[in-house]
């Protein structure tokens, strides 16, 4: 009983893993594409959202706020294509760590802001109170996707795979 269970698991994992990888890659791509798309239409609001954290001078905040939506969109496209997946996952993880740190610090300092993660300009809607914990948990979920791709970057239907000629190489680099 135990032996067969262990064996099926051992067989299943190599079969399932690449497809879990695809799901993680496309999921993370969707996160970045949506996050970028909701901000890109109002770059001034994106800058205000960054400034609302009050961790950097206003002019730096607006510059980052303007660049960030485009970087997020580009990251989404790169992940969608599966180009340099491990690097893209690493950049994703780094960004998410920065976001989580920012939200946590806003929480600790008692600021009343929206995280601005999906384009709200950092402003809370009328009568809305901050929801820092759900925002952090959500970002940690995204971080898990990035972590999966950092460990197992090789996924089917990717530019990386295509460049490698689909030879069954060990995917311990990339």
């Amino acid at each position: 009983m135990n032996v067969t269970a262990a064996r099926t698991r051992a067989i299943r994992w190599p079969v399932i893993r690449p497809w879990l990888g695809v799901a993680a890659r496309l999921g993370l791509a969707a996160v970045w594409l949506i996050a970028g798309a909701t901000k890109v239409g109002d770059l001034a609001a994106s800058g205000r959202a960054v400034n609302a954290y009050q961790v950097m001078p206003y002019d730096l905040a607006t510059t980052i706020g303007a660049a960030l939506p485009f970087v997020e969109l580009a990251l989404g496209v790169i992940l969608l294509l599966g180009l340099a997946t491990r690097l893209a996952a690493g950049v994703s993880a780094a960004l998410l760590v920065v976001f989580v740190t920012g939200i946590a610090s806003a929480w600790i300092r008692g600021l009343a802001i929206d995280c601005g993660c999906f384009g709200s300009g950092g402003q809370l809607a009328a009568g809305q109170s901050p929801s820092y914990l759900p925002e952090i948990l959500r970002d940690l979920g995204f971080l898990a996707l990035a972590g999966f791709l950092l460990i197992w970057p090789r996924t089917p239907v990717s530019v990386d795979g295509w460049l490698a000629g689909d030879t069954r190489v060990e995917d311990d680099d990339e």
């Binding site: 609001a45 009050q54 607006t62 939506p69 580009a74 496209v77 340099a84 009328a126 680099d173 990339e174």
Partner: protein
């Protein structure tokens, strides 16, 4: 036998090394390409943003010296109001405490600096926040800023809608006694859009993260009820 096996092994090792080298090169170049894409994306964002900004603005009549808001009254205590014409909480605030603030102004105890910020452009399909704020600049030129502001909150469109059209803004202005032709050319020409941008940017710089924000002599007032505002003004006057 064993030496032939040794040769095979050596050949395999060389093959593997070559393959590893090839993989490393490939990884390097895909990484370089990906990083380049990200950097270029960021630069595009920065240049788009720079292109959107305007440095030159003309403040309407009645603006404060910094050009960040319209001054109403001349009392010793300054009440800064940061509001967006599209913001429902601002409308509620005006209904709740507007009369009290008017009283403080007419009693000569406070002056109001009203900052018509455009924070909520994303919540209308036509940048109503910017258009209404710029129109309020036109109304200030005509000396009817307060009346126009009250009328705009009265007729506030819902969030997510197209907002009021420029024609409707002009009608409202004419309704409070502004010259229709002057107002029409000012609103349609977007004369004060750059000013609105300046007002909005300076408000952000002053760490105004939400609307309405009320400051009495520069200090945030958390209790925006009539009693709370009265108390803050009295405390500031001492």
């Amino acid at each position: 036998m064993s030496s032939r096996k040794g040769q095979r092994d050596a050949a395999r090792v060389v093959r593997e090394q070559l393959a590893r080298e090839k993989r490393r090169k490939r990884t390097l170049w895909t990484s370089v390409a990906a990083v380049a894409v990200l950097v270029i994306a960021g630069l595009i964002g920065y240049s788009v943003w720079s292109g959107q900004r305007t440095d030159e603005f003309t403040a309407p009549k009645g603006a404060n010296e910094a050009g960040t808001g319209i001054v109403i009254g001349s009392g010793p205590v300054t009440i800064d109001l940061y509001e967006d014409y599209l913001c429902p909480a601002c409308k509620q605030f005006q209904q709740l405490s507007g009369d009290t603030i008017n009283q403080l102004v007419t009693e000569g105890r406070a002056r109001v600096v009203f900052h018509p910020v455009a924070y909520l452009n994303r919540f209308s399909t036509t940048e109503y926040s910017t258009r209404s704020s710029a129109a309020s600049g036109c109304a200030a030129d005509g000396g009817k800023f307060k009346e126009f502001t009250d009328a705009l909150f009265e007729r506030q469109p819902p969030e997510g809608s197209a907002g009021l059209s420029n024609d409707e803004l002009i009608d409202i202005g004419a309704g409070v006694g502004l010259n229709r032709d002057d107002l029409a050319s000012c609103v349609s020409g977007g004369r004060y859009k750059a000013w609105t941008e300046h007002v909005t940017e300076e408000a952000s710089r002053a760490n105004v993260t939400g609307t309405p924000t009320v400051r009495v002599n520069g200090t945030d007032v958390a209790d925006r009820s009539p009693a709370g505002i009265r108390a803050a003004v009295e405390a500031a006057a001492k």
